[in-house]
């Protein structure tokens, strides 16, 4: 499983990072780093929750 990041839509709410700091990394401005995120086995549910927490719909789940 991967998390697809639409960096253009990220507005720095950082709700993903608040829920799952182990999955998401923020830049110095507090915005998610660009590029897909590979979800380690066992963290799929957390990845789903963090993805659904994005007010901008900048995150989505995909297959690696």
């Amino acid at each position: 499983m991967i998390i697809k990041v639409d960096r253009e839509k990220c507005a720095g709410h950082a709700r993903c990072w608040a829920l799952a700091p182990e999955l998401f990394e923020l830049d110095d401005e507090g915005y998610v780093l660009p590029g897909d995120i590979l979800v380690p086995p066992g963290q799929e549910a957390l990845a789903g929750r963090a993805t659904r927490a994005c007010p901008e719909r900048a995150l989505s789940i995909g297959e690696d």
């Binding site: 507005a11 720095g12 709700r15 990072w17 923020l26 110095d28 401005e29 927490a53 994005c54």
Partner: protein, 406 residues
């Protein structure tokens, strides 16, 4: 006989709605009111409708109710411009507050400069100050008795002193600043103009002083900051300082007040937080969703269709956060306040590039305020014989909130 409010020719009659953010019954000051429930009812109707005289200065605007359509508007700075001159027009000048009244890409260069100062990681450094201030204020009002008007004795002094500390402004004139904010945000044109002059004169004095004597604060950061490889102009500095000053004065205190207003009337929900203090961050997010206070407004830059309505270039488009945050398509059972709500992508801090710059500081402050309140104050209620007054309009809120824990 009252004259009919004016509706522009291009607005079809079936697109005109009866609701008004300022004048509808629950939007006016109301004892024990619930303006949020009144706005939530809009979700039973169309996703977009036209409301005559629904801005502070009596202009008509399209009101967008659903989360999806608000996202479409607020994420699209090319079609929906933030270009307004609310502050400067009050003093007969013409400049944007930065970055709020700028559009991308101009907006982005200032935003990138400011974002690091208020990132989630950076605001963590302010927590000890916030906590100490909250404890001092609560212990102070506890020492004075078993009831308090918490807006003036707790919420405002806390929010404003944190913000003044961030900006580098001493808090010995704290309540004077709160008065200015009230005049700017909640009163008529004459008071607004006078207050705008007072804010600007004060900030200009601060800016001049920090140029002479740099300190470790936001004002010093501004006078030393670079954008596109050059220092900020004096006009840019005052435009940013004004926004930060106003932004920090009202909304955080309002959020704390609205949360305490809800909790005071719902002892079982207080108990829920006392039984399980660990849910406070999630409870605060949920109360931000249920009781947000701000309505972003944009100006259409072209003719277009929105939610089946014909928007014309130049029309105002209003996106009340208290509507989208109660959208059943986005939040199951939206009028139930669930402290453990999942997928809480609420709109209290707006959508898109103008997402509230201070949002991470704001949510930390609210969490700390409520944590310290619950740690120190036993079960509380609205003091008998008093009536808190809620209001809608430019920034929703509550006043005369006298809590009793005797």
């Amino acid at each position: 006989m009252a004259s009919q409010p004016k509706v522009p020719d291009h607005v079809p009659a079936h697109c005109v709605g009866a609701f008004n953010l300022y004048k509808s019954p629950e939007m006016r000051p109301t004892p024990f009111g619930d303006p949020f429930a009144a706005v939530a009812k809009l979700l039973d109707g169309p996703s977009v409708f036209y409301s005559p005289e629904t801005t502070r200065d009596g202009q008509g605007a399209w009101i967008v109710t659903t989360a999806e359509e608000q996202r479409n508007v607020l994420q699209d700075g090319a079609s929906y411009s933030s270009f307004r001159r609310i502050f400067s027009s009050a003093i007969g000048e013409d400049w944007p507050v930065i970055p709020l009244e700028l559009d991308p890409p101009e907006h982005g260069k200032y935003r990138s400069m400011l974002n690091p100062l208020l990132s989630p990681k950076r605001v963590a450094a302010l927590e000890p100050f916030v906590t100490a201030k909250a404890v001092e204020l609560i212990e102070g009002l506890k020492a004075r008795g078993t009831s308090a008007e918490v807006m003036t004795e707790f919420a405002f002094p806390l929010a404003v002193s944190v913000f003044l500390a961030f900006l580098g402004i001493p808090d010995d004139r704290l309540m004077e600043f709160v008065g200015w904010a009230n005049e700017l945000l909640h009163m008529g044109p004459a008071e607004r103009t006078a207050a705008a002059h007072k804010v600007l004169n004060f900030l200009e004095g601060m800016i001049a002083q920090r140029k002479e004597e740099p300190a470790e604060d936001f004002m010093t950061f501004l006078v030393q900051a670079q954008v596109e490889g050059r220092p900020l102009t004096d006009q840019e500095i005052r435009s940013i300082a004004v926004l930060l000053f106003i932004g920090g004065l009202d909304t955080v205190a309002t959020a704390i007040g609205l949360d305490l207003y809800f909790l005071a009337r719902n002892p079982d929900r207080q108990q829920e937080l006392r039984d399980n203090p660990a849910i406070m961050p999630s409870a605060v997010e949920e109360m931000l969703r249920a009781f947000p206070s701000v309505t972003p407004i944009r100006t259409a830059t072209r003719d277009m269709d929105l939610g089946g309505c014909p928007i014309k270039k130049g029309d105002l488009v209003s996106c009340p956060s208290m509507a989208s945050s109660r959208d059943p398509a986005e939040f199951p059972d939206p009028n139930t306040i669930d402290f453990n709500r999942e997928d809480n992508r609420h709109t209290a801090f707006s959508y898109g590039p103008h997402r509230c710059l201070g949002s991470h500081l704001a949510r930390r402050e609210i969490i700390i305020a409520l944590n310290e309140w619950f740690a120190r104050i036993p079960p509380f209620r609205i003091k008998e014989g008093t009536a808190p007054v809620t209001f809608g309009g430019f920034v929703f809120g509550v006043e005369n909130l006298v809590l009793d824990w005797s």
